[in-house]
Symmetry: C2
Subunit: 109 residues, 2 copies
DNA sequence: ATTATTAATCGTAATATTGCAATATATAAA
DNA sequence: TTTATATATTGCAATATTACGATTAATAAT
């Protein structure tokens, strides 16, 4: 059906999955890495840098913005995108907590 | 087109995205949490626990296994699944490294 | 041998995602 | 005002994902 049965999971599970899902595309990883690399905001340039069509990049940026990982500010005809530092830290913690769940001790395999 | 242009990204970017993608479904998050919770292997029971049909759970388990987050061992008619501790740690580090990229200092927004 | 149990696979329907051309929008420059 | 520039939105085609009923495979129990 292609539809996720979100209603049978906890808000935490759904939130974590949503966050991971947004990170689940190499173009979005590349965009985020570029934002880190240039140490400031991206005002365009991502299209040439990444090599996907402008509408495609725009769409990926939208998803990153929706989940709160980046934010954009319009300056003239350009839009400057940068990491949303506060949310970034929060999501880092969300993922860390999950991965820090204490590992099982009694293996049967 | 529904097809990701993996070839224009680095292996690292694709690897990270693949890992995140697998975590991008609440059922798979729930399965992993359950594996942690019971502190041992899951031999069935996931179907009742999670509330999706048996083929659906089986499919999710397959994806978790493919990426290496869990491993399974056949014992009789049952299959015991548990966290693949070694890979788990590796993936934790992969994600941590990404999130620990030093945050940009010069904000323009 | 037959039956029960458990999990994987197949087939299929519904929905989501990816990517881009075409277009729209909105500001800057001339 | 007209034109150029940058980004968003729309519409669509191709592919992927999710979910599950039906079936299969493989062992256990009777």
């Amino acid at each position: 059906m292609g539809i996720t049965k979100s209603e049978i999971f906890t808000p935490q599970q759904n939130r974590l999955a949503s966050l991971a899902k947004v990170l689940g595309h190499p173009a979005r990883i590349a965009i985020l890495e570029q934002l880190f690399k240039i140490k400031t905001c991206v005002c365009g340039d991502l299209v040439e840098e990444i090599g996907l069509a402008q509408p495609t990049i725009s769409q990926h940026l939208k998803e990153l913005k929706n989940i709160g990982l980046i934010k954009g500010e319009i300056t003239g005809t350009r839009v400057c995108y940068c990491i949303d530092v506060e949310n970034w830290e929060e999501m880092k913690n969300t993922l860390s907590s999950f991965f820090d769940l204490s590992l099982p001790e009694n293996h049967c395999c």
